[in-house]
Amino acid sequence: MALIRKSKQFKWHRKHLLGLRELSAEEITFILDTAKGFEQISTRSVKKAPPLRGKVVVNLFFEDSTRTRNSFALAASRLSADIIEFTEKASSVSKGETLLDTARNLEAMGIDIVVIRHSAGGAPKFLSRNINACVVNAGDGFCEHPTQGLLDVYTIRKIKGTLEGLKIAIVGDIAHSRVARSDMWAMTKLGAEVIFVGPPTLMPTQLSRLPVSVSYSLDEVIEKVDVINMLRIQFERLGGNPFPSIREYSHYFGLTVERMKRAKPDILVMHPGPINRGLEMESEVADGQNSVILQQVTNGLAVRMAVLFLVNQAAAIAKR
């Protein structure tokens, strides 16, 4: 296809996208380059291309999601695939079908690509070992959310030109964030320096072995960074009482207009959505001139088209 730029003989060979930890910088760059080619489909009058015609994509979502699910559905439809929507609260062991049985049943219907979101870390990997269809991870527990990580670096690269040498702060509930993990892998592999910012009670264990630095003070970090990614406080995942009150959290880690005054003028403000306005960031910041939050959503579509395209292509090559 003319849409695809052949970057230096590189051949994409993965029929699953499970996480960014296992990808090389070259593979990540290849996805981003592929996505660039797909961006223009969404600006045409006929927003459709044929590469997945006759293929079936199932959106297998065991957790609530609006934008990721819609983004995948739209990406699949722009590539002319048929889409099955499967939404269910994560099945418990005692009642209902196991994940494996659900997937095998879907596969028996002849699906080609499973896009899965699940509350258990590793669920996509587990699935990929047990079924023949391509598996794309749309978020697993607090392990990874690879397409979010890809669209984040895509957005940064598009505006800044490169990730190389950038300082990027990821702020908030790192412990329970799959976005933080996928961002960390993608950003550091592409040469950026990542700083995790948040209260110690929301940091994962053994940070020393991760390729990041850590700060408990947004005030210290805000002046230094080129990009700031504000994570959503996920009330549904917070166990116990990791901070005393929302008020106190916002005081230390909220991105306020006041704090923004001390940031670099060309800082990019990102958020994976949905935003708790007034909590992680003030509305003026979310809607302000440094915010690229809506561009992230737009770019997500191109990135997901690229991912669906590439895994399908790899599966076709593997079959031959």
Binding site: G121, G122, F126, D140, T205, R209
Partner: protein, 436 residues
């Protein structure tokens, strides 16, 4: 009718009696009749007389595993006392101790007698059981430990969980002092363990799985040490089950230095595997306490080398394949390792030179027998005729499809191990022969 078994020319290792030499063992009826040289011919008067040539083999007291889950009553699809004890005898064990976390739990004398009856019907190994410390393993009200002890329960534990409330545990320890039984604890403070499904550390972080901190184990062990100190003197014996962390080793070291009546056990998986094994979300590595870091494994080996560990156990925890074929987050905890246990200990402890055979045998016979207070684990004359014959150099490949256990959740499938059980004699009867 008398029966006799003469085991000739083996290397007889009986740590309790300081024996490690090439000689013969004679079993008459159900008991050890003689251990010495040139035992043959002197007693060839019986009708049923068997001679076993054990040249090149080890002849040791029947092995004892004081921590197994045979799932009966309640989960017979995973294991039964019959299938579990068949697996045990094939692995050289002549005695095992079942944990009481069945469904319903073992919490009164009828339950204890049920286990014994099933074991008699199975006619494989001696099967003992521990009883629950608290009713329903709920950690609130004491179970009828007295009646259970009278029915033959060899100790008490809420294994699968720890007794959370310190005042309940203190009461249990005090009360149990009446009965001269061992009080065993699965050390796990639930407030630290949370909903952890693996060790809290680098791997739980990158795998996005909730971790259980080492503190969950260490905090409860520390607490229990204080409780034991508090109620001394008494007849209390406390046993820390499946310790897994370097911090726990420290606590045991200190407790033994203070001569407290505290013993502990380790499993093969905590000696051989680390949290890194979970990296591919293989649920056969999901176990509780979880696999820890390599520094913990080293500390446990060091503890064995120093003599701080009193028993080697399997914590054999069978599960159906369909239960393990789930997301790592939801699959049940447990490893079924009974049938390759000896080879695993050899690999973990004899291979690297941490223990020699007499030391290993001691930790699988004499010392565990002492912990549960049964008159076993030696080849002393007059003792019950429980003998295991081991081919120390025979290598074999672990093949879960050949397990006598009903379950296959064993991460050692395909491993090559050394040290194979050749014969298992229980109560003067050959219950297992290799090749059968």
């Amino acid at each position: 009718m008398n029966t006799e078994i003469l085991i000739k020319n083996g290397r007889v290792i009986d740590p309790a009696n300081g024996i490690d030499k090439k000689c013969d063992v004679l079993i008459v009826d159900e008991k050890i009749a003689e251990v010495g040289e040139k035992t043959q011919d002197s007693r060839l008067k019986t009708q049923d007389f068997k001679v076993i040539d054990a040249v090149g083999k080890l002849v040791v007291p029947g092995l004892i595993d004081i921590h197994v889950h045979f799932r009966e009553p309640g989960d017979e699809e995973e294991e039964t006392i019959a299938s579990g004890s068949a697996a045990a005898v094939a692995a050289g064990f002549t005695s095992v101790v079942c944990m009481p976390n069945t469904n319903p739990p073992i919490e009164n004398e009828t339950d204890v007698e049920y286990i014994h009856r099933k074991a008699r019907q199975a006619r494989k190994t001696h099967v003992y059981t521990m009883g629950a410390i608290t009713k329903g393993l709920e950690g609130v009200e004491l179970a009828e430990m007295g009646f259970m002890a009278e029915a033959g329960a060899v100790g008490f534990t809420d294994d699968g969980r720890g007794v959370q409330d310190p005042s309940v545990m203190l009461r249990a320890l005090k009360y149990a002092a009446m009965f001269d039984v061992v009080m065993a604890q699965h050390c796990q403070d639930d407030s630290f363990a949370g909903n952890g499904v693996m060790n809290a550390g680098y791997y739980s972080t990158i795998l996005g799985l909730p971790g259980a901190d080492v503190l969950a184990e260490e905090a409860m062990l520390w607490r229990d040490v204080q409780l034991v100190k508090k109620i001394r003197p008494g007849r209390i014996r406390y046993h820390a089950q499946h310790i897994s962390t370097a911090g726990s080793v420290e606590l045991i070291r200190a407790a033994k230095r203070d001569s407290l009546p505290i013993t502990c056990e380790v499993t093969p998986h905590h000696l051989l595997l680390t949290e890194e094994c979970c990296a591919e979300y293989d649920t056969n590595y999901k176990v509780n306490p979880p696999l820890r870091g390599s520094e913990d494994v080293e500390a446990l080996k060091q503890a064995v080398a120093e003599g701080l560990v009193d028993a080697l156990v399997t914590d054999h925890a069978p599960h159906l394949q369909s239960e393990k074929e789930l997301e790592f987050l939801t699959a049940p905890f447990g490893i079924a390792s009974l049938e390759c246990a000896l080879g695993l200990y050899v690999k973990a402890l004899i291979g690297p030179g941490i223990l020699d055979w007499p030391d290993l045998v001691r930790l699988m016979t004499e010392k565990p027998a002492k912990i549960i207070g049964v008159d076993k684990g030696t080849l002393g004359v007059g003792k019950q005729g429980d003998v295991t014959i081991i081919d120390p150099d025979a290598e074999y490949k672990v093949d879960v499809s050949k397990f006598r256990s009903k379950s296959r959740n064993c991460p050692y499938h395909g491993w090559t191990l050394k040290g194979r059980v050749d014969k298992t004699i229980v109560g003067g009867e050959i219950r297992f022969s290799a090749g059968d």
